[in-house]
């Protein structure tokens, strides 16, 4: 079995700082990490490989420095890493990104063996769109299984797969066919730590580096800025609220009492509403 896991190197968003004047992201010294959701995708892929045999190829599209994240994925246990990097990809939106990644996955299939499953995280923490997974899937004409919490069974002979998928208000249990694309939810598995041996191998491993041309991208016009139907016209910082919070002063009464008085003073209607709500419990 051959599984491709798409990962992305992202800035550790907890530490993002915005320059107050230029509204640009200050990347200096901001550590990069593998998008956390992608780690759950990688773990699920490795579990399937451990159970059914075969290989896991990790793929990322990004700047040359994204090689670090690929090496981390090799340390965790992936067999092979492919870096798709080219200045033609700069400024890609989700449609252009899915175009390039789908081309690379086809190329991975023809070079290293047909791809049965593609895994991605449900979304990234920098873009937060959850659009690239479905985009790749449509371009490859694979079956789409998003927000998956568990791959419950797989039959390589019959080419069928069963998954549990989060939907509004419950879990769908689905049976579908290979090849498919799965986006994984967070917290689905404990992500394994890389072994010492993997780390040594990862340090020595050859990361496959492909340009757009190497990956067999047919139409460079569909990549990067030129291939992106969406256009970012304006970037700005959220406006601060006009006034700061009113500090509750507990003059001679317990602070909890003072707070409740203040709440009902600001929103007189709330008292009756809260009473109605509390009565229901």
């Amino acid at each position: 079995m051959h599984i491709v896991v798409c990962i992305k190197q992202v800035p550790d968003s907890a530490q993002i700082r915005v320059h107050p004047v230029t509204n640009t992201i200050m990347r200096q010294g901001v550590p990069t990490i593998i998008n956390p959701y992608d780690l759950f995708a990688l773990e699920e892929a490795l579990r399937l490989r451990d159970k059914f045999g075969g290989e896991v190829t990790v793929l990322t599209m990004g700047p040359p420095t994204a090689e670090d994240s690929l090496r981390k994925a090799l340390t965790i246990g992936a067999n092979r890493a492919v870096l798709l990097t080219d200045r033609f990809f700069a400024g890609s939106d989700t449609l252009a990104t899915s175009y390039a990644l789908a081309a690379a996955i086809r190329k991975i299939g023809s070079t290293f063996g047909a791809v049965d499953v593609v895994f991605t995280g449900k979304q990234t923490i920098d873009g937060d769109t959850a659009q690239v997974g479905p985009g790749i899937c449509k371009r490859l004409d694979f079956l789409q299984l998003t927000y998956v919490s568990k791959v419950s069974s797989l039959d390589l002979e019959a080419r069928t797969i069963e998954v549990e998928r989060r939907s509004e208000g419950g879990v769908q249990v689905l049976r579908s066919n290979l090849p498919c694309l799965i986006t994984m939810l967070e917290g689905t598995n404990q992500v394994r730590r890389g072994s010492m041996i993997n780390a040594l191998n990862a340090a020595r491993a050859e990361v496959v580096k492909w340009s757009a041309q190497d990956a067999g991208v047919e139409d460079i016009q569909k990549c990067g800025l030129r291939g992106s139907p969406t256009v970012v016209k304006r970037v700005f910082a959220p406006t601060p609220r006009a006034e700061k919070a009113k500090v509750v002063e507990a003059a001679g009464q317990p602070p909890a009492e003072a707070l409740i008085d203040e709440i009902f003073k600001l929103r007189p209607k709330l008292e009756n509403e809260m009473f109605e709500l509390a009565r229901g419990f």
Binding site: D126, R139, E162, E262
Partner: protein, 368 residues
Amino acid sequence: MSQPAKPAPQPAGRAAAKKELPEHFKAYKHVWVFIEQERGHVHPVSWELMGSGRRLADKLGVELAAVVIGPTGEATRAAVAESFCYGADLAYVVADDVLTDYRNESYTKALTDLVNTHKPEILLLGATTLGRDLAGAVATTLLTGLTADCTELEVDADNSLAATRPTFGGSLLCTIYTLNFRPQMATVRPRVMSMPERVEKPVGRVIEFPLGLVEADIVTKILAFVPDRDKATSNLAYADIVVAGGLGLASPENFQLVRQLAGVLGAEYGCSRPLVQKGWVSADRQIGQTGKTIRPKLYIAAGISGAIQHRVGVDGSDLIVAINTDKNAPIFDFAHLALVTDAIRLLPALTEAFRKRLSAHTRDRIAS
């Protein structure tokens, strides 16, 4: 995954991009809202979007259409009828029992065929698990632009959709256009837009559309549906009162103080992202950019510092009360009421005080 990775400085040609709409897209007219129904229930985000869609349609001087896809029968008929009460001028309906439950293959076909036939200029969907699954597939099939999780939708001077969304966890906002492709697609998370007023109206124009698929054409089969045992988690976004805890609570045991207050108030409870990462609270209780957006009448945040990604999810609250020991915590920049104190000590007192207050209220009511 990747809205542009470098928000600024922008590459030449990006902000300066011109609207040069190709001739074949000029026929695309009207605003559509996808009405999301699952198991006979319409997700309220659909009506919230009808409110936004109505505003956009009025500005453009075009019609607002509801798109209802689902099984034949009463539930779909009711969703169509309801869409007129929320402002639809017409409804496109694809009703087929193959569409009883959501599946990507069948819904993607229904919606892309509809778009290709009836050509809307704007198509809005809820950013739910269903909406995101569908929108990503449809936009790729149509090869058009899609902007995720918008917090603001406007029409600019040349009648283009200006969709604003947070990026980098809410640190920045971007206004994004799909200038030269149609339809212009956007998703919006539940509770970001306010609920429009419902006005009783008879059913208007309905345009039926065939699915053109039979069950045998669809590979993916639904073996079972397991409803959430804990119904409340799906109510967090729609709760009138929400109490949430953050790292200031210091231990997973202390999180029950949040639950106890919520219990007395008949409220829902939630948490900030670090508590989910630590495994203290389940992910479906997370409030913020990567969790749920809430819009309660009262939001009590206990021991939450108020990182930007949290603010994104609570900005629509009518009254935000923040309890935090750190008087410089960012939450005090966007809360309405602040109590600079230790939430661990205050919460039990607040629970007790509310209990007394609300039961006194009961006595007054009975006495009067």
